[in-house]
Symmetry: C4
Subunit: 233 residues, 4 copies
């Protein structure tokens, strides 16, 4: 069961390697099947070149119980589960330590919208979370990592599909999308945008965000009812 789901999870994880977003066993991608109420995720600490569909654990989203698979799921699984529970429109989640996005997360700076590449994918700055408290870290750490992303989105009234990524302070990026393939694409776009923004602020330290009209225009070109980017469905 869930064979196609597991194959897509393998492909998505390999996509992170091909895009240069992960080294060693850093990072993980998961995909949900909402009708069955499950998600499939990379097993913990397994090398990317050894991933096989039958190794991919499948978990019940509501309970977090293992439904299929003998391997232990990624240690970041509780973070993925929190995001799937809260973001009903999300079907795929990706976590990486990609170089430039991680640099912004470590610097505890939100990623400002400095250009149209950013606006094509993210409707405004990609937020950075607050630091977790010692109590949150000592407790159910990975679950709290998800919770602090939700808190950040609630405080800023952000829509998860309008800004499909967050930077966890002192940690790194999470990205998501309607499908896991979209989530990988958003993780790739996030890293490209983080790299250009890094170099832009080196060239012009006091750079403002792009005008709101330009942000709206580019985001609307690709998203929503007025989108005219891409081929008609």
């Amino acid at each position: 069961m869930f064979e196609e789901l597991r194959e897509r999870v393998v492909a998505a994880n390999l996509g992170l390697v091909e895009a240069g977003l992960v080294v060693l066993t850093f990072g993980n991608a998961s995909a949900a099947e909402r009708t069955a109420g499950v998600m499939a995720i990379k097993p913990s600490g397994v090398r990317y070149d050894e991933l096989r569909p039958e190794d991919i654990p499948v978990l019940d989203i509501a309970s977090g119980e293992l439904v299929e698979g003998a391997r232990r799921p990624s240690s970041d699984t509780p973070t993925h589960l929190v995001l799937y529970r809260a973001f009903a429109s999300v079907g795929g989640v990706v976590h990486t330590h990609s170089p430039f996005a991680t640099a912004w997360a470590q610097a505890q700076r939100e990623l400002p919208c400095l250009g149209t590449t950013h606006a094509d994918h993210f409707h405004g700055p990609v937020p950075v979370t607050r630091q977790l408290t010692p109590a949150e870290i000592d407790g159910d750490y990975e679950e709290r990592t998800g919770a602090v992303i939700l808190e950040t989105f609630a405080k800023r009234r952000l829509e998860p599909l309008a800004v499909p990524a967050a930077l966890v302070a002192s940690h790194g990026p999470f990205a998501w999308g309607v499908t896991v393939e979209d989530a990988v694409e958003n993780a790739v776009a996030l890293e490209a945008v983080a790299a250009s923004a890094y170099r832009s602020v080196v060239l012009a330290a006091e750079l403002d965000a792009i005008p709101p009209e330009l942000l709206e225009k580019h985001f609307a070109r690709k998203h929503g009812e007025t989108a005219y980017y891409g081929q008609p469905a």
Copy 2:
């Protein structure tokens, strides 16, 4: 019809991927056939590894009407058309979000001529446009993007083949050439020059442009009647 033109457009778009100038579906290359008054361009949102000559839309340059092909052309098509209409000597146009050129565009700094690599390809600084106004963004946005490049070239009295590229503020680079192959080469050179200039200003913040004699010498080595670079035709 226009089979060779479409094949060249496919090859040029793949050349952008090979040179590391684009990821995902960012960027696009087009080629004109001036005798027929048409140009062929990447279809919108199609993955580079799925591009086939028969998918390449061909448009009338004067009217912007689709002449051949079932796919929707790149959303940046109106920008390309404006450039082809104004720059009669140009036969190919390339748009990328290449990392370092985009950083300069986002920083809204023109790319200064800091070395002979630059002077080999661009006869002076590569200009950055002004920001578009809200009215320009809300109206015919992509057409206005082309227009603001023309405005920049007119104000500075630049020849399009002497400075075959521009940085659109908060967006990214456009490059062009007599052929689409030249346009790709200029986009590759622009990115290399943008990277070296970035690192040069980090090492020496108040760096001046190279002496005018050195600029003239290098540009003239490769361009115009006194050129002695390359093999005799």
Copy 3:
């Protein structure tokens, strides 16, 4: 004899090339076999693509004498030997001139723990040694390079497997592990962490280390009795 050990040393050295940590003949990896009291190391100045198991010299750790192999061992062999003698738990040592770790070593700055990627691998900052004195350099230089690493670890009361790397001032990184495969992994992680930290301090010059709770949490996820990262043994 020691055929498997030599094959692992070849594979580990090639792993440094594949990970982009070395160019030309820079760098070297060695592996110990503690029951026999020997270690095997890259021969000096041999190209990576010409390494064969039979070329790998095997040396007695206590005496430093050549046990097997006709090739001259790496000029850095005395540094490796000092580390094996002092760090009984270490079974592999790697030396590279990887770009970002070398930049921190040359800048004579310790590598601060700015994120969880760092904490996953290194239990606190990766220390930088003091400069060697002229007498140390003129004498048994490579042996003193090992000694200054030991001195740094002794002064700071560091455990070699808790912080499995050091930056030698004006030189570059050494990394180690229980096996040579672990040592390569730590060298890869060190370079990734050095790159993100470099960009983090560019974005936020006065950045503090991550909270101690977060450091403990991440290190303990992967190391020691409470580890829950990876698959059960």
Copy 4:
């Protein structure tokens, strides 16, 4: 005639591409055969993937006259000839626009010796030339480019094989060696050292050169009668 020489020149030029030192048709490598008094060099403006031994021009070093080959030699040929005439011990010359070495050249800063990687290859800072005067640029420009390298080495009393590279101000690096293979290796080492030095000065702006004892030790490990790096001849 000179078939082996031409094949080595093709291989050396391809080595520059493989090492990431050149893009497009930037850069060139040449090799001398001193007994015949000739040198062979990349033809001007020919793509690297189209280089064939029979295309490589061979020139008389003393007169600069073409001895063999129908192609026009690199436009930088007069610079190579000046170096071969003055540096009798040099058998290969390489010119690139490699990213980091070019950044230092454009910033008109000499490349300081900040670590042992540098000291392994270059006995002290890699010098940067003065700017050429307008008269020098307007006259025999490429010949004067060689002459200003010689002037820089004469003023600083540098030995060409002790410091086998120079940065030409506002232009880029030249490297050389006893053979063209050594020259390529020195160009690769120069780029690696230029990258680490760039990042080192970002991390520590007022960084001093390494102590003279460390410079002497590392250079002497690899060069001269007391060398103990590499395998015995």
